[in-house]
Amino acid sequence: MTDRTMVDGMSAPRLTLPLELRAVAITLALGALGYALFPDDLAFLTRLISIALLVLSLDLVTGYCGVASLGHAAIYGVSAYVVGNACLAGHSDPLLLLLVGAVAGAVMGLVSGALVTRFKGLPQLVLSIAVGQLVAALANKLSTLTGGSDGLSGISPGRIFGIYAFDMYGRTGYVFSVAVLLIVFVVLLRIVRSPFGLLCQAIKDDGLRARMIGARVYPRLVLMYGVSGVVGGIGGALNAINTGVVGLDSVGFERSAEALVMLVLGGAGSLWGALIGSIVFQVFEHYVSAANPFHWMTMVGALLIAVVLFAPKGLVSLGGLLAGRTASVLRRRP
């Protein structure tokens, strides 16, 4: 998938438009499909979208920069808390809240990026964990701001554009979330193909080679962490806006680890992979986890092992393979 998009983007500039249009069309189709399949459970879908943004955010640093992070929920959770508090303080315009979330996420992203990308390998992984756990411990401690283990509740955002109120069925929230996801996704498609995005991938491939073409590796990685923070922050903001509560789970280690699992399931290094991974995982979770949470854990574990062994590049690569086969079969027909 990435191969093709990259080639598109470069050899024929006129094709970039269809690529983004395609993304819009697919996202809208998925949105409609979701509505058709789960009309009574839009809350689940809005949650799914919010988490999908976290996974996209993680993809930017893990898939595109090669930074394995097990603390990415810090960005998501902090932004959700900030948005929650902003709303409780009376700033209830949803668009303003999104902006607040994006800024909070960006700050968190830059700070954690500055810490985490300083080193490589084990120290890097451990720093990502430490940042996540530090934030989680603080969230627990600062209960005046976070509501501690009870969570921060009573967040009730105002009308979108002053017109559309959030209804109890979650319809407004759902449409709002799909629109936000769509915009973010299209913007990200451009960012990962920009010179900056390419440079990040180059750094992932070979940091020393990137330096030898003159790249300043550390500032680039921190900047990508900042972009990732914006995306994760928007995800956290959506979570606060749609559910009206923010709990400790939104900063926890499990949230970070699950995001990584979803990313790798779908395929790191591809935005489509992040999207597919978060959808497949959460729909699966929706059914299985409800049936038995303990079997759920076993199954996620088995799934992870299977992905590593049989589809190390994620579902998106299987999809690409399938599409390639179909295409070649079709081509062979006269």
Binding site: P123, L125, A130, Q133, K141, V261
Partner: protein, 289 residues
């Protein structure tokens, strides 16, 4: 005040020793096989469960229970080594290792929860260890002292093993230069398997003797997953003195933090981690690569 200090110190030391016993296996594995094994804590947990079963249900004595536990955990872990771990020794990238081993940990947690239930499993101590010890001026839980002795013995025996035996010579040669060792005819696969067994055995041992401090329940594997990894990173992968120093330092940071400001949870622990990683990116006593 001084008593509080002493008490914190002993708690920190015994907690640190438990961390050491469990983490040192992981450290050696990472030094030699370069595997980020997030399922290491799960093996310590299996050890705890086996010991609980041996002591409560089978009525075996404490020392024998420890031996059986260590062997039993190795037996359980070995198929995993054969089927899964072998694929990721030394070569694959970090992300793959993280995912595979988190996957293993999740499966173990899920199965433990299903088979044994979500409750904490007690590991009854023999009378000798369960009471307090009178130091004349102060009573101290005997178990704490026992843990410290276990830690010191583990460090000493490991040092002997690695410094004085044929196995140790091969191990060090392979750590220093894996490809060279291979070409010198050291059978690295056997060495890796032996090291894996050693690591798992130590984890199980630590899981049993440390059960008072790290209670055995299904989410043990997840709860302490990162703690052990952090100890290894702070100490420097593959370094015994580094692991000792890191365990004591982090044990102290955690225990002191929880005594003085319990509402901050693990805050001070992870603050210490960030500081140490920045000051010593290769570990307190680790070597540069």
């Amino acid at each position: 005040m001084a008593w509080t200090g002493l008490s914190i110190g002993l708690d920190a030391l015994s907690y640190g020793m438990v961390l050491f016993i469990i983490s040192i296996g992981l450290s050696i594995m990472m030094g030699l096989m370069r595997v980020v094994n997030l399922a290491h804590g799960a093996f310590a947990m299996i050890g705890g469960y086996l010991a609980s079963f041996a002591l409560k249900n089978a009525g075996v004595g404490y020392p024998l229970a420890i031996v059986l536990t260590v062997l039993g955990t190795i037996a359980i872990a070995f198929p995993l080594e054969f089927l899964l771990y072998r694929r990721i020794y030394r070569k694959s990238d970090e992300l793959t290792q993280i995912l595979l081993t988190i996957g293993i940990a999740f499966v173990i947690i899920g199965v433990a929860n299903y088979v044994l239930g979500p409750t904490t499993k007690p590991i009854p101590l023999p009378p000798l260890l369960s009471g307090p010890v009178d130091l004349g001026f102060r009573m101290i839980p005997a178990h704490r002292i026992f843990v410290v002795i276990c830690g010191v013995c583990t460090a000493g025996l490991l040092w002997l093993l690695i410094d004085r035996t044929e196995f140790g010579i091969r191990l060090r040669a392979a750590v220093d230069n894996g490809d060279m060792a291979e070409s010198l005819g050291i059978k690295t696969q056997i060495l890796f398997s032996a090291t894996f067994a050693l690591a798992v055995g130590l984890a199980a041992f630590g899981g049993v003797v440390g059960a008072e401090l790290l209670p055995v329940e299904p989410f043990y594997a997840l709860r302490y997953m990162v703690t052990f990894l952090v100890v290894v990173s702070v100490g420097g992968a593959g370094s015994i003195p580094g692991a000792v120093a890191a365990s004591i330092l982090l044990g102290l940071a955690d225990t002191t933090g929880k005594y003085l400001a319990p509402e901050y949870g693990e805050f001070f622990f992870y603050l210490a981690v960030i500081l140490v990683v920045f000051l010593f990116p290769n570990g307190l006593l680790g070597r540069r690569h």
